[in-house]
């Protein structure tokens, strides 16, 4: 009724409304920046990479090895080297990372967890350049050369192990999250059926967290491919394709770092310099792809619980 | 449509069945009691008393089970009405049983007394009315038949009339004291049958309540007894 409509005023305080709009705008701008950044990344990469691609001949991409100075831009070599290092890294990170995750989430009592978990956190906090030095100055001379005296001073094995160590905390924490997201109820159900601890851990929890674990591994791969400093210090600069883990070679990130550190050849050669953007774009695309996949996988387990 | 609370409804129909058992006993007893008085047949009277033991037994059991069911199931809606009706009918039927015993007992105390044909005829007539009425009431409950239940006050009408006329018939029996005593006893029998009629009406009321949820008295029960003013 009109009498009541007059009595009941629901229009609210205009000042509060205005303030709402202002605040909202400020926050929106901030969010916009993140979009700008990714645009900037893609644009800066694409523009320069494009210049590179048009500047070179196609067979230069198939030439033997990655030697920008010689106009040999065999990207495949970089990719293979990156893959080898990533493979070695995952051989280290997956068992140790997963094992750590299983131990922390399934076996460790709260008190021991409080003590043990920081190990991984501390390891995660070690800068990669430190591990690069470790790989170069400890792993190669004091470990690898002891087993394989023939190993080169810069070799995939040391770099791979270094990268692997670097990734253990990532794999461990993402898969531990996934395992801890498995409801306690599921474990109790398993124990309630007379399952032993390892049954519960390996047959109930791990399968339930499988997609999270998969995501952890994919993320680990993505991180391994993008890791720079360990590789730059410990993997060597060999641009010829090499499949021997005891010898070294240039990876994608190594190539970028190498180009960025600067050299007389590059300064005078457009294509060689722009190859940096080309490799950067490849790296970006590759890790993006992996991240998207892991995201998909993660979303699957998020949905379940 | 599945019945989710089958165990409860099983329970509930068991309770209803107990009440029906008593109802059927009462129907049988009312016929037997009248027969016992009219013949008179002391064995029959004794069997009525015996039946009543079963009625009382069932009554007590039903009451306890009613309380338990109520505590356990917290029924609602129609189920709740049924529970309330069950409790009510349980009491009513126990009383009906008692009335039957009251009638049957008269067979004993009147067995050697002289009779009045007119009074005996009236008792017979009432007996012929009251048992079918009780059966009608119980049937209306079994079939949840509101129409049938609504007929009961009308069926009670002749019984009331016969009962009212009893005074006159008894007084007319005098002056022989033996006959008078017999007739006086018969007045009690008539009164008991009249009450059974009332209880049948009461059952009918409960049936109407059970089905419609509305609780009404069919008629002022104060009217059933005594003369119209």
């Amino acid at each position: 009724m009109t009498a009541n409509s007059a009595l009941i005023d629901l229009t609210g305080d205009p000042r509060r409304r205005r303030r709402e709009r202002t605040v909202r705008f400020v926050f929106m701008t901030a969010a916009g920046v993140s979009v700008l950044i990714s645009l900037a990344i893609v644009l800066s990469l694409i523009e320069q990479a494009w210049q590179f691609v048009v500047a070179i001949e196609f067979d230069q991409l198939l030439a033997n090895g990655w030697f920008p100075r010689r106009g040999r831009f065999e990207f495949l070599t970089l990719f293979v080297h990156s893959s080898i290092i990533t493979g070695i890294a995952m051989l280290v990170a997956v068992p140790f990372g997963l094992g750590s995750a299983i131990y922390l989430s399934e076996y460790a009592k709260p008190t021991s967890r409080r003590i043990l978990k920081p190990i991984l956190e501390v390891l995660a906090g070690i800068p990669s350049v430190v591990l690069g030095f470790f790989a170069l100055q400890f792993l190669t001379p004091s470990v690898i050369r002891k087993v394989f005296p023939a190993a080169d001073s810069a070799n995939f094995l040391a770099a791979g192990i270094g990268v692997g160590i670097l990734i253990i905390p990532l794999v461990a924490s993402v898969s531990e999250d996934a395992m801890r997201a498995v409801p306690r109820a599921l474990r109790e159900a398993s124990y309630g059926l007379g399952a032993k601890q390892w049954h519960t851990a390996l047959r109930v929890v791990v399968p339930a967290a499988l997609s999270g674990i998969a995501a952890a591994i994919i993320l680990g791969i993505s991180r391994a491919i993008g890791e720079t400093m360990v590789v730059a210090l410990a993997a060597g600069l060999n641009g010829i394709r090499n499949l021997n883990p005891l010898e070294g070679g240039l990876t994608m990130t190594g190539a970028i770092a190498n180009l960025s550190v600067g050299s007389d050849q590059v300064a005078g050669n457009d294509s060689a310099f722009q190859s940096l953007f080309f490799v950067g774009l490849m790296l970006f695309t590759l890790t993006l792809g992996l991240n998207v996949i892991s995201e998909r996988v993660v979303r699957r387990y998020r949905q379940r619980y | 449509m599945t019945d989710t609370r089958e165990h409860f409804h099983q329970n509930l129909s068991n309770l209803e069945q107990s009440v029906l058992d008593n109802a059927n006993r009462c129907i049988k007893m009312s016929a037997m009691a009248v027969e016992a008085v009219v013949l008179p047949d002391l064995d029959l009277a004794a069997r009525v008393a015996e039946e009543d033991l079963a009625v009382d037994q069932t009554y007590l059991e039903t009451h306890n089970r009613w309380i338990n069911t109520m505590a356990r199931q917290a029924p609602m809606g129609g189920d709740l009405r049924l529970m309330s009706v069950v409790l009510h009918l349980n009491t009513t039927l126990e009383r009906t049983g008692d009335q039957c015993v009251n009638i049957a007992k008269m067979a004993l105390v009147t067995k050697d007394l002289p009779r009045s044909d007119r009074v005996l005829q009236m008792i017979r007539e009432m007996g012929d009315l009251v048992t079918p009425m009780l059966r009608t009431a119980v049937d209306s409950f079994v079939r949840r038949d509101v129409e049938a239940a609504r007929l009961l006050p009308a069926m009670d009408e002749p019984i009331d009339r016969l009962n009212r006329n009893m005074y006159r018939a008894v007084v007319d029996c005098g002056p022989a004291p033996a006959v008078l005593e017999w007739a006086t006893r018969m007045m009690m029998v008539a009164r008991a049958m009249e009450r059974i009629g009332d209880q049948a009406v009461d059952i009918g009321e409960q049936v109407v309540f059970l089905v419609t949820g509305e609780f009404v008295e069919f008629a002022d029960p104060g009217d059933h007894d005594g003369d119209r003013v």
């Binding site: 009724m1 009941i8 629901l10 229009t11 | 449509m1 609370r5 609602m76 809606g77 709740l80």
Partner: protein, 284 residues
């Protein structure tokens, strides 16, 4: 107000029975839902709900899970605005004003129409700050102490907490927390309090205490409560709306008002078979 409208609506096939009661004339209508439909995106969660909510009464919304009780409740104070894609059709009038009208500020609506939720959700602050938050943001600056005492007293909590108003609200027991939430809701001086399963996280004793509180509160407020618990609706409410749910081929559940009546009537002699089956536990 809208009492002249026929309280009985017949809207075809599965028309809900919306019955008046002898008390109709005595209390005025606070909310008037007409042909309310609520959508989540393109999916219709609730269909054609027509219900009047009366002043100083407790109205309960009951029905099976997913029948849209919460959905309807959250229309009363436009809480659904916060849900992505939620959309309302039909009208909700609040004292005759269209709640979803263009110049209606949902913030203002929520101040006038308080809400209490399923799990006790006190702010992780002191008891005192919990109560004064609403009034403060609404611009109130004075008399806060009195307000706190008044609200807590109304919520039957004052005696238990008066010596620890500065303690954290999280240290209270579940039942106390829920009463605090009620106190918080009434501190903004609303005239309606909505409650969505306010006792479902509480134990029976705390539950009974809240129910008692609701019965006290209806002297001053109009209360709408959603509950899963039939017994609870029966215990506390004056009127009850029973919703049922139709499931379509793809499993989407659309709620529908089956019956609205006084609680006494609905729980003893419901007009609809569906209601009877629900309250007696036969269903499905």
């Amino acid at each position: 107000m809208n009492l002249e409208r026929s309280p009985v609506r017949l809207t075809g096939g599965q028309s809900p029975v919306v019955d008046g009661s002898p008390g109709d004339e005595r209390t005025s209508v606070v909310f008037d839902l007409e042909e309310l439909n609520v959508f989540y995106g393109s999916f219709r969660a609730v269909k054609d709900v027509t219900v009047p909510i009366r002043k100083n009464e407790i109205t309960a919304l009951i029905g099976p899970s997913g029948c849209g009780k919460s959905t309807v409740l959250r229309c009363f104070n436009r809480m659904n605005d916060l849900i992505e894609g939620a959309r309302v059709e039909g009208s909700i009038r609040y004292h005759g004003v269209d709640l979803y009208g263009d110049d209606v500020d949902p913030v203002e609506v929520r101040r006038r129409i308080g809400m209490v939720f399923q799990r006790p959700n006190p702010f992780p602050k002191s008891i005192y700050d919990n109560i004064v938050f609403g009034p403060k943001i609404a611009g109130r600056k004075t008399g806060l102490d009195d307000l706190v005492e008044e609200s807590l007293t109304k919520a039957a909590l004052w005696d238990e907490v008066k010596d620890k108003l500065r303690d954290s609200a999280s240290d209270l027991s579940g039942g106390q927390q829920q009463r605090l939430c009620i106190a918080r809701a009434i501190a903004t001086n609303p005239d309606v309090v909505l409650m969505d399963e306010p006792c479902s996280a509480l134990d029976p004793i705390a539950t009974l205490r809240i129910e008692e509180l609701m019965l006290d509160l209806k002297r001053d407020y109009t209360i709408v409560i959603v509950t899963h618990n039939m017994q609870q609706a029966a215990r506390v409410s004056d009127r009850t709306a029973f919703f049922s749910v139709d499931v379509n081929e793809v499993g989407q559940r659309t709620g529908r008002l089956v019956e609205f009546d006084t609680t006494d009537k609905l729980f003893t002699t419901p007009a609809q078979t569906e209601t009877e089956q629900y309250i007696t536990g036969r269903f499905g």
